[in-house]
C-alpha cells in the first residue's frame, strides 16, 4: 500500500516538475538549433529586476547544472531555471516568434499580473509584494 503510493508519488514528481515550464515546437526547435550551433549543454532562464514593471526575463547559455537549478526537459531540449526565477516562471509557456523585423522568445506567463507595453517587463504577485516591501 505504502510502496505503491510511494511509487505513484515518484512517477508524479517529475511530471509535476516538468510543468514548471513548457515549450512550443517553435521554441524547442530554435533552442535546439542554438545549442547545436554553439555546442552548449543548456539554456538557462532567469529573471532580473528591471524594466518598467517589475521583472524581465534573462536567457543565457550554461554548461552545467547548478545545485539548486531546476532542470526542465521538454521536446528534446534541456532548460535550466534559476532558483530565484522559479517562483515567477512556474507554469510559463515559452514560444519563439520569428518575424521579418524581429525574432524573439516570448513568455506566456499565467502568473503575470501586468505587462510593460513592449511586453518585456512583467509583474507577478510575488514580485509586486517584494516591490512594495522594498518601496515602503
Amino acid at each position: 500500500m505504502a510502496s505503491s503510493f510511494f511509487a505513484a508519488a515518484q512517477k508524479a514528481g517529475p511530471a509535476i516538475r516538468r510543468q514548471a515550464l513548457s515549450l512550443t515546437d517553435a521554441a524547442a526547435a530554435r533552442i535546439h538549433h542554438l545549442l547545436q550551433q554553439r555546442q552548449r549543454q543548456f539554456l538557462k532562464l532567469g529573471v532580473k529586476a528591471r524594466g518598467c514593471n517589475g521583472l524581465s526575463y534573462t536567457l543565457n547559455y550554461a554548461d552545467e547544472k547548478g545545485k539548486f537549478d531546476e532542470l526542465v526537459e521538454d521536446k528534446g531540449v534541456k532548460i535550466l531555471i534559476d532558483p530565484k526565477a522559479l517562483m515567477h516562471v512556474i507554469g510559463t509557456k515559452m514560444d519563439f516568434v520569428d518575424d521579418t523585423l524581429r525574432s524573439e522568445f516570448v513568455f506566456i506567463n499565467p502568473n503575470s499580473k501586468g505587462q510593460c507595453g513592449c511586453g518585456e517587463s512583467f509583474m507577478t504577485t510575488t514580485s509586486a509584494g517584494a516591490a512594495k516591501a522594498s518601496g515602503s
Binding site: G51, T58, L59, S103, E104
Partner: protein, 163 residues
C-alpha cells in the same frame, strides 16, 4: 618753447594716431569681407548634414536590411518605416514595419542603398536618433538607440517620454 614742445608731442603722437586709423580701416574692411565670405560659407554648411536633424542607421542595421531585401521576394526593395505611437509604459513607443509606399510628407534617409522612412509627425520625436539592429540570445530586433528627443523611458528601450 611751448610751441616746440607741442610739436615734439605731435610728432610722437602722430604715428600712434596713424596706426589707430590704419587699424580701424583694417577692421572695417575685414569685417565687411568676412561678412561677404560668411554668406557663401553658411549656405555650404546648411548643405552639409546636420546630425541633429537626421535619423541615422548603424552598419548592422543596413546589413540586416540588405539581408532582408535579398532573402525574400516579398521584402525586396522595401523600406524600413519607423513611427512613433502612443503607448508603452512611458508615453510613446516606437513601431517598425517594412513598407514600400511613401507619402508626400515622409522623410527618407538613405544609406548604402537601404532606406529608412519616417512620417512627418513621428520625425519630431526621433530626429537625431540612431536605429540599430540588436542581436541577442533572447531577441533580435530593430531598436532606436540614442534618441536626443527622448528622455528617460522604459529600460527595454521601446517606450520613451519626450522632453
Amino acid at each position: 618753447m611751448s610751441i616746440s614742445r607741442s610739436r615734439i608731442h605731435l610728432h610722437r603722437l602722430t604715428p600712434f594716431i596713424f596706426n589707430r586709423i590704419r587699424q580701424n580701416q583694417r577692421l572695417l574692411t575685414t569685417s565687411s569681407s568676412s561678412a561677404v565670405r560668411q554668406s557663401p560659407q553658411s549656405s555650404s554648411s546648411s548643405q552639409e548634414v546636420d546630425d541633429s536633424t537626421i535619423v541615422r542607421m548603424t552598419d548592422n542595421c543596413t546589413r540586416r536590411l540588405k539581408q532582408l531585401s535579398e532573402k525574400e521576394a516579398s521584402t525586396e526593395g522595401k523600406m524600413l518605416r519607423l513611427s512613433v505611437e502612443t503607448g508603452g509604459c512611458s508615453g510613446f513607443q516606437y513601431a517598425f514595419l517594412l513598407d514600400d509606399k511613401t507619402n508626400s510628407d515622409d522623410r527618407v534617409f538613405e544609406k548604402e542603398g537601404v532606406k529608412l522612412v519616417v512620417d512627418n509627425i513621428s520625425y519630431d520625436f526621433v530626429k537625431g536618433a540612431t536605429v540599430d539592429y540588436v542581436e541577442e540570445l533572447i531577441r533580435s530586433a530593430f531598436v532606436v538607440t540614442e534618441n536626443p528627443s527622448a528622455v528617460g523611458g522604459c529600460s527595454c528601450k521601446s517606450s520613451f517620454m519626450v522632453k
